[in-house]
Symmetry: D4
Subunit: 248 residues, 8 copies
């Protein structure tokens, strides 16, 4: 970018608004980091990697590791892992869940219990995103995979274990009946995560989403399609309430 750009297009957003010490966020121009978040919500920041330019992403990981000793991001590509690892060598990556993280030297002990159940092997990536995020947030997680309703005996086999959890995350694409069946068998909240798994009239997860919204069972709520992260955040809030009560 050259000097004449001040009078023509291209004026850089990061330079346009220098501000002395704003309260509760740190203005990098291309991002306003919500520094005040952990103390407001009790959760560390998580990076949504998809679509972030390489340079920004590496910068954000670097800064997070420096200031909080760890970092965690979802929907990262193998390429983004390479970019980040070049600057933060201790970064790790899981190809299935597409989680890109830097482990803390002294991870906290995990508390309570969240159950992650998923319908088919194709739903595993979303289930793993949910499970790993919840673990990053400090929850103990038990996994029950490939227990879709077409072979009901597989689910019934482990339902007593599932009932021990403070919250269930039910991950399913296609017709998404899993959440309803689970919801009828447990007494704790079930967070349904529709996935984009399917073809034809599954419409990229819309069939599963609509199915879950219309569940005839109680205690079920829904997050966006493939949003394993969002389900884990909410499940962590519920798990904490069950373990600690409302700290407010």
């Amino acid at each position: 970018m050259s000097a004449d750009e001040a009078t023509t297009p291209g004026a850089n957003p990061s330079e346009a608004k220098p501000k002395p010490k704003p309260l509760g966020f740190d203005d990098l121009g291309y991002a306003k980091i919500d520094t005040d978040r952990r103390c407001r919500t009790g959760f560390p920041e998580v990076v949504f990697c998809q679509g972030k330019p390489d340079e920004y992403l590496a910068g954000i990981y670097e800064r997070m590791v420096r200031t909080q000793g760890c970092a965690f991001g979802t929907r990262a590509s193998q390429h983004q892992y390479d970019v980040v690892r070049a600057k933060v060598p201790q970064a790790r990556y899981d190809e299935v869940s597409r989680v890109l993280w830097v482990p803390h030297d002294a991870p906290a002990r995990r508390e309570g219990e969240i159950a992650v159940v998923c319908a088919g092997t194709a739903d595993t990536p979303v289930a793993q995103e949910a499970a790993q995020t919840a673990e990053y947030f400090g929850c103990r997680v038990s996994r029950y995979y490939d227990v879709g309703v077409a072979g009901l005996h597989r689910l019934l086999h482990c339902i007593d274990d599932i009932r021990r959890a403070n919250c269930v995350i039910a991950v399913a694409g296609m017709e998404g009946a899993l959440a309803s069946v689970v919801g009828g068998l447990v007494s704790v909240p079930v967070i349904a995560v529709p996935t984009s798994v399917g073809y034809g009239a599954s419409f990229g997860g819309v069939a599963a989403l609509m199915s879950k919204l219309n569940s005839c069972a109680n205690g079920i709520s829904v997050v966006n399609i493939d949003n394993g992260y969002g389900a884990a955040y909410l499940a962590t809030q519920i798990n904490r309430l069950a373990v600690r009560g409302n700290a407010q």
Copy 2:
């Protein structure tokens, strides 16, 4: 209608095309009755009452009773029952299923077995339309109502009985998970009937329809929303094949 209408709008369709003896149908102008149907398909004609003008409807019932000794129609209103009964006193009506029929003096014996299962009490009208239509077509029908997946023990309680049928009709609105669960537990065809029962994002049965089309279980096919009649027709075809083989 007066004489000048020949040169202006309103020319009556029933008069426009007088035809001597067409083959295989009887041209009433407002309808071409498919006289050749029973011998072509083995099924008597069934009337779709909804939207038929009063005069036409009564005429059709009268003629069917005269020529075949019985009549059967779906989606009839109480008003239509009154209209038909004025001309055909032996007509009967079921307010729940909205079936309007004239029983045969000597009904045929019923053969084979079709199971009709439905998820909730609100799905009963569609289930009854299916069950009564199948009985009119000569099938033995067993009913399993209010066995939705939110209380799975109710379905598991009767699954062994359901397995005896040659074909299962699974009627469910809302998220429509019933067909998938049943489909995973039986080895015969399951015909899924989505119903318009529900609210909000059920979109008049579309959520249930999409759910069934994306079923993860095998041996499931779908008919139109609330189409109990269509499911019964197909179930009867399958039941006959199981009892008699293909007569072709």
Copy 3:
């Protein structure tokens, strides 16, 4: 119904399957009451009144009052209130929330706290259904109505009070931005209830539903359009976990 119906349409579903003592439900033919539910889930049964035939509805209320000393139903019409009151004189009705209930002689003490916030006065019926249901389930409820984001100062005025709750139910139609703004200001779960309030491109609540599913804030999940009851059920589960932990 007369005798000949055994061999023609209309065979009554309530007579078709007499069963001796099924386990965990009571088979009335038109409904299988889930008698085992309160001990399985800790929640009493709630009646979805809309669309239930008069005779069935009155019967259900009568039986519930006899067996459990109280009853509670949602989406009841004024007409249904009249029908039920004729049999159960102590029944009460709220025209705004359309809740039809029979209060218990000795209501339980309410525990914890749920906040119900709603965007505009037109959303009040759904908010009240949620609030009253949660109270029936034994929660303490605080209400914050008409605090939509177009006049943000109204919400900010009461945000400190809202933060005390164990769970927030956010009710909003139209663009449904309320849940995101609240979700960014509290640390407990927010259950978003889209309402069908609006016109034109609100598509009966779909705009609000989609808005909430795509919330940029964390800890938000969604129930079906206008499903105040469902939100209350889930909020009660969370409130109980916060107060008592998981009793499993």
Copy 4:
């Protein structure tokens, strides 16, 4: 994956839940193989290849060949064929239908008859998936391709042959009128398979799907867009009932 992952994200689902001898399935962690299926339903397992990771896919084919002497999968890519063939040299692949299979040394005799009709040459891949699957399941299959309704004489030419089958699979994209015309000409069940063939307002098969759901002919049911496998499964069930009756 290194040791520290036990305390951070990435905990492997296949290791998380070691279970001794579950009943009716074999838990590989990434999949729970439904070992009990053939005796429950009379059908061998079929692999949905699309989206399966290479390593898992090869493992599944290997195991199936070892335990049952043959294997069969749909929606396989050329790449997946290469992957499987490296481990199972006798594997075969059909580029048109995308079926990837290992033939049995002693294939069973085929019974009954299913007719597969398709509208245009572009629908051939789905028609072939259906035909080959039905053959794998032990049915005799007759094929009638490129008989769309725009040139009706082609269909009428072979309709007498089609009538001999116990079940018809009608495969068509675009407006999908084929199933209705066939349904009006035969007396056995017609399974309609909409295909994603088309452009513009065909919406990836939705136009064909909606057309078939609204068919004015009787005895027609629908499976998901491009779901040749599902149609074959159902057709086989019907064909068996016609040949053997219900073995239950």
Copy 5:
């Protein structure tokens, strides 16, 4: 309306813009009658009655009869017929097609030929709107009703007659396959009119509309759902070109 309204809401549109002699239209305030239309297009004005206030509608019919000796409108209700007849006693009304017209004393001779075919009796109202409009525009019309593709022999019986027409209007709801079958059998343009007849997944005619847009036959174009008038206008243009060539 009182005098103060000039300075407050309610200022009447018919008074707001008095204009001396605009060219080619006559400004009534609530309508600008396109006086120049017949000489520009060769077609008299036709009134779309639905939704027009009573007073406006009667005024328009009165003026048209005075200036051109006849009038013709579509989608009129019985009530509107009463309103118009009070002012124009020679008005006539057809309850099926909902056409409201005032015949000309000396109707022109009809020329050429248009065929109107329709699938089921429920499609008759739209077919009659098309047929009567085309007759009003001076075309000879032949009608072929209830010839849907589920009983193909009915259509094949009259196809030779249909081929004589200069243009075919094909009216069908539900899956709308009629236009494709006809289009494959004739060599002149086919104008497809989807109707809103159907239920469930017919979505008020959208299924039929999409089916026709994706027709595999040639020479087919589509007008809006239930738009019999629009089809007749276009068919008349084509019929005139065939009879007279382009008069331009």
Copy 6:
């Protein structure tokens, strides 16, 4: 409501949160009147009447007249007019625009100019809602009705007058082409208001909405379907900026 309701459902929202003197709004329980609005935005409050309970509506009109000397509401029914007039006798009502207002004794002078153009007579109600609202907000308004693009000479006739306005509101249903044609002919902002006028594939205004969003002309923005009020509000803001500049 009786005393026992404090411990059961029905607790009245208006009583639940008594608050001493909140800043910038007046808490009526069922509504929080934004008292601070006129000084924050320069606009008086306008009432959206549709769906408001009678009692609330009359109360709101009474209070507004008392505090600001006038009142104005949109989407009122004749019944609501009767209800309000019983309490506020000087209220007036326009059946076409459905505006319900109480004129000010000393209306302000109107400034600037807004042009309201509309396509057909059926769009007049929405156009009048827009025009009257803008007048209430103090704008001079010129009306150009029934100038749809099917008879282009009507629009071209008055385009020079339209160009004088500071802003154009273009109201059109059906295909909604008016805004694009106007937008290509003027140099000021065009606010497009799609209307729900149409049938079949107009989908209650969605066709017009999509058409306007995709306009190939510049300077066009869109408000919700039938939202004449919203267009007027925005047009007033623009008109004021043109007359007075930004007063901030």
Copy 7:
């Protein structure tokens, strides 16, 4: 394919049904060429290239050139051109319209006149497909490109020329207002071709399609999105009727 395929999947459709001399078509197995078409409809066959396997496509071009001296196909890729040219060296290709054709040695004289108008330069490919197809079918074609309604003077400049045509093809994406404006200015049929040009809420041409279906002008019908070929076929039928009358 090897011999064992007779008993396993992959049985080739082209071998399955050898038929001696079917009437009116030539059965290649993968295609049934409609040999009877030109004499039934007066049109030569046109190839829809998109999605055809290379081997089939080359075979079809070869055969068509051999039997009729020319060939013409739409939606061909550059690669398909290379494939065909290898076998038919005189083949030609237009990258813009994607037409792949073999010119006739003695092309017929062109008759009548069709006008092709298009809105923007991005719509040119579809317009050219329409224009070239109509020319192949023997019509004289005049082109008017980049005359969208945002700059109305461009269209008005050439409207007198357009009026000379027997039929107008109006090609436009985005909001698609062109057809309505043209339809109001000419007296011959207008065939509207929506294109997939646009972004955001154009939904791949759906906005343009819906706009055209709801046109307020008369004499407009619609073909599928981007279907230049279909419009040309229909326009040719109309042009022939205008030049020759109905030859039937």
Copy 8:
């Protein structure tokens, strides 16, 4: 293209209609440049680069620079930048906003003020397209990025600065609540630009679009998804009216 193409497909549109001196546009065959535009609307032409063939694009830039000393285009790819730069070396390109421009030697002074606010960093490209376009049109622009409602303190921090602008452009994907919150806090028009940022049920920006159309705040209008250019054009019109009044 060779000579025989005059009698076969491929006749070039640029040659077909040579016109001597049309009024107000310059006919290049593939484009009709609207030479009359700047004096009609006060805006220079802007190029929509996406989808333009290379040769055309370079030609257009060359000509614009020659005739008006500068050029500006949106949605350009890196490849297109290379193509244009080869002919116009002083061209510049911004990878984020995808703007491709040739700066004027003597840029005009910027006037007034427009505020561009955007919700998240992923929305920056659209925000920058808007900001740079407005600057090209001569507006002063202030930028406020990453101020989404999930962290409301970031927006409140700069709201006083935003209020100084004559118009606000609010850019947001996902649920798009930003426009409503801003609209409730300022008194000038807010132009909402939904972006396609998001996943799952964001449907490529449709969720954000619907949210904005249903905003409960006043003074908000909407442009197409990702249409930063359109918002800037409209904002410039408003800004000019505020600075200069209507020059008409």
